[in-house]
């Protein structure tokens, strides 16, 4: 079996053993669940329940609006106690529209129709069911899966790649789900393959997860789903890296994997598709890794969406020491949060409580142009040059060097001996560019409005003038007529 050589990448300390050896536990229901209406890329969902409504587990509480969006469901049965702003799991600390549910503890499920033979369903029906179940990519980007499935089917993909890379340190949720729920995942994979009409399905798993590899191989033995080991390195889980490692194909810049006939989904997404199609269960919970040096007993939990992060730490025995940093996701790309009251959402793969020793050096020194970052970048960028331009506000220069191709993987910052927050520079610049684009779009609108207004004012003025002229003419005509009448009269 051929694997293709990759460039760039780093080898951070994995720290996975802390949590990978404990089976997945179910998180006890917390007193309140805060379910944000936007947990995905795209437009937020619109609430369809009111305060005081009783809801069942899996019942729709928000419908997606527009093309790229996803619905939101109640994680358990209970009462809607509030619809309003609640702190979002986001580094800004800002709030977002959230439906708060008080569980009744009964866990009664809303009944969805379950097909007898899921593989008999039409491909677009599978995508529709995944969409109705609110499934978004669980690999991190949280992109609505039905959109991806539909688009892939229409553009025609030949290969389905299932991403079991899980290259982020600490995180083991994909590892555990592959060990414990391999057959469901394989079914999910086959469903997705069926939904997009792919001729083959490959699962790429990093070779540092032998148990997961074994479990998946066993589950896939009777099917034509192929399980492949890929070398462990960060960011092997980046879909383009995974595609390159498995297939040797390169996705064009500014394009998507579908452009080269590949669809990529995460293993947990495949499991969620199986749940939705075969069990009629919408996406209302996910596996979350709780880990970090400050946590007493790291482990993986199955968590209802909306559970506050604090509840997860509590189940894991609380903190050993005061954590220096709380992080949602992995240490390489995850986001720091300031409070433990924020909820777990569909895209939350892990919650980490890190100590200062784990975070490492923070005080930045000047760049010594050692080009370690250049060697680490999997995209082939020059992080030091881009950052220098961003620092001196030369955004155009940064873009010319490929700022927009940066995937924000953090490899460069990780290896930089000077501790320069390179990715921070890039994301600051990307935010600034986005703001500029927004204001430009707005400028276009205003320009149009201003033009319309001046046209209108001109028209009104013209009409007024014309009216005046007409009046004058009429008056003149009348007078003339009057005069004529007078003369005729006089003549008469």
């Amino acid at each position: 079996m051929k694997l293709f050589k990759m460039r760039g990448g780093v080898h951070p300390e994995a720290r996975k053993a802390d949590s990978s050896e404990r089976p997945i536990r179910i998180l006890p229901l917390p007193p309140l669940l805060h379910v944000p209406l936007q947990q995905h890329i795209g437009a937020p969902a619109k609430p369809v329940v009111r305060v005081g409504d009783k809801v069942l587990a899996g019942q729709l509480v928000g419908v997606g609006q527009g093309h790229v969006s996803a619905p939101v469901h109640a994680p358990t049965s209970g009462t809607v106690v509030a619809i309003g702003d609640h702190p979002a799991p986001h580094p800004s600390g800002l709030s977002a529209a959230t439906v708060t549910i008080a569980p009744d503890g009964e866990g009664r499920w809303f009944e969805y129709e379950v097909p007898a033979d899921p593989f008999a369903l039409a491909p677009d029906d599978i995508a529709a069911r995944a969409g109705a179940a609110g499934i978004v990519g669980l690999g991190g980007a949280a992109f609505p899966s039905s959109v991806k499935l539909d688009a892939s089917r229409q553009s025609g993909v030949d290969t389905l790649v299932i991403n079991g890379g899980e290259c982020e340190p600490y995180l083991t949720c994909d590892d555990r789900i592959m060990r414990e729920r391999a057959s469901e995942i394989v079914t999910g994979i086959r469903l997705i393959q069926h939904a997009v009409g792919a001729t083959r399905a490959l699962v790429g798993i990093e070779d540092n997860k032998p148990e997961a590899l074994a479990a998946m191989r066993a589950a896939a033995a009777a099917t034509d789903v192929q399980i492949r080991a890929v070398p462990a390195m960060y960011p092997m889980g980046w879909e383009k890296q995974m595609i390159h490692a498995l297939l040797g194909r390169e996705v064009p810049a500014e394009g998507r994997s579908a452009d080269i006939g590949v669809l990529v989904h995460n293993v947990a997404t495949a499991w969620a598709v199986q749940q939705a199609v075969c069990q009629g269960r919408p996406l209302v919970s996910r596996i979350v890794t709780v880990s970090g040096g400050a946590v007493v007993a790291p482990c993986n939990l199955e968590v209802p969406i909306g559970a506050p992060v604090q509840a997860l730490f509590d189940v894991c025995g609380g903190f050993r020491t005061t954590p220096a940093r709380l992080v949602l996701g992995g240490p390489m790309m995850g986001q720091q949060i300031a409070r433990t009251s924020v909820p777990v959402v569909k895209g939350t793969s892990g919650v980490l409580a890190l100590t200062q020793a784990e975070i490492g050096l923070t005080r930045p020194a000047p760049c010594i142009r050692c080009s370690t970052c250049v060697r680490a970048c999997p995209v082939g960028l020059l992080p030091l040059e881009i950052a220098a331009r961003v620092r001196s506000d030369d955004l155009a220069g940064a873009v010319a060097l490929g700022l927009k191709d940066c995937i924000g993987c953090g490899s460069c910052s990780y290896v930089c001996p000077s501790g320069i927050p390179l990715v921070h520079f890039f994301n600051y610049a990307k935010g600034d560019l986005a703001a500029q684009a927004r204001s430009k779009a707005k400028q276009e609108t205003t320009r149009k409005l201003a033009a319309e207004r001046s046209a209108r004012i001109e028209r009104i003025a013209r009409e007024r003038e014309e009216a005046a002229a007409a009046r004058k003419a009429a008056k003149a005509a009348k007078e003339a007529a009057a005069r004529a009448a007078a003369t005729t009269e006089a003549a008469a």
């Binding site: 800002l94 994301n427 600051y428 990307k430």
Partner: protein, 185 residues
């Protein structure tokens, strides 16, 4: 002496002739730059720059008589675009980017005089005579014209609060990022 004078004079005369002819022959009309620059300006003709609308501003810029930072509604984006087009280095430090703002009508003060409705260059003020006016946020450029004409000071320019969509990371090393105020749990 004679040779010197004649030869140099002939040289000078012929070069003068050539240059004169060349100037005539190679004459270039108009300045396409002005139009290009005008396309970069917001086009609201609000006059805050001190020129009679964006065309005047564009002309001044093309002649190099105006700073890149002349247009307040354009903010940093316009400065950057102008700098790129004119190949100049923009000094962004002087540009006050108060962040996105929007006009807001305080209903308790509005008397429905329609003056703001008449001046708004983008038709962002809605309402009719004797009725309370409101601002259509998508169209408001925060130019402030309405603020100036309102007889009861009912219109204010209010900063737009950041949302999850508009929020962005601050520049590292300059402003250590802080949690939005009033949210500390």
């Amino acid at each position: 002496m004679i040779a010197a004078l004649t030869s140099l004079t002939v040289l000078g005369t012929s070069l003068g002739l050539i240059l004169g002819l060349a100037a005539r022959f190679f004459k270039v009309e108009g300045n396409p730059l002005v139009e290009e620059i005008e396309a970069l300006l917001p086009g609201t003709q609000c006059g805050q720059c001190g020129y009679p609308g964006c065309t005047g501003a564009a002309q001044a810029l093309a002649n190099g008589n105006a700073p890149l930072t002349l247009c307040p509604p354009g903010g940093r984006a316009v400065v950057a675009a102008l700098a790129a087009r004119l190949g100049m280095e923009a000094d962004l430090s002087g540009v006050e980017d108060a962040g996105p703002r929007i006009a807001e009508v305080r209903e308790e003060l509005c008397i429905g005089c329609t003056r703001c409705y008449k001046v708004c260059p983008t038709d962002a003020v809605l309402g009719a005579a004797k009725h309370i006016h409101a601002v259509f946020s998508e169209a408001c450029t925060a130019c402030g014209s309405c603020v100036d004409v309102c007889p009861t000071e009912a219109i204010l320019l209010r900063p737009l609060a950041p949302t999850l969509q508009s929020w962005g990371w601050g520049k590292p090393g300059l402003q250590p990022l802080a949690i939005a105020q009033g949210m500390a749990a």
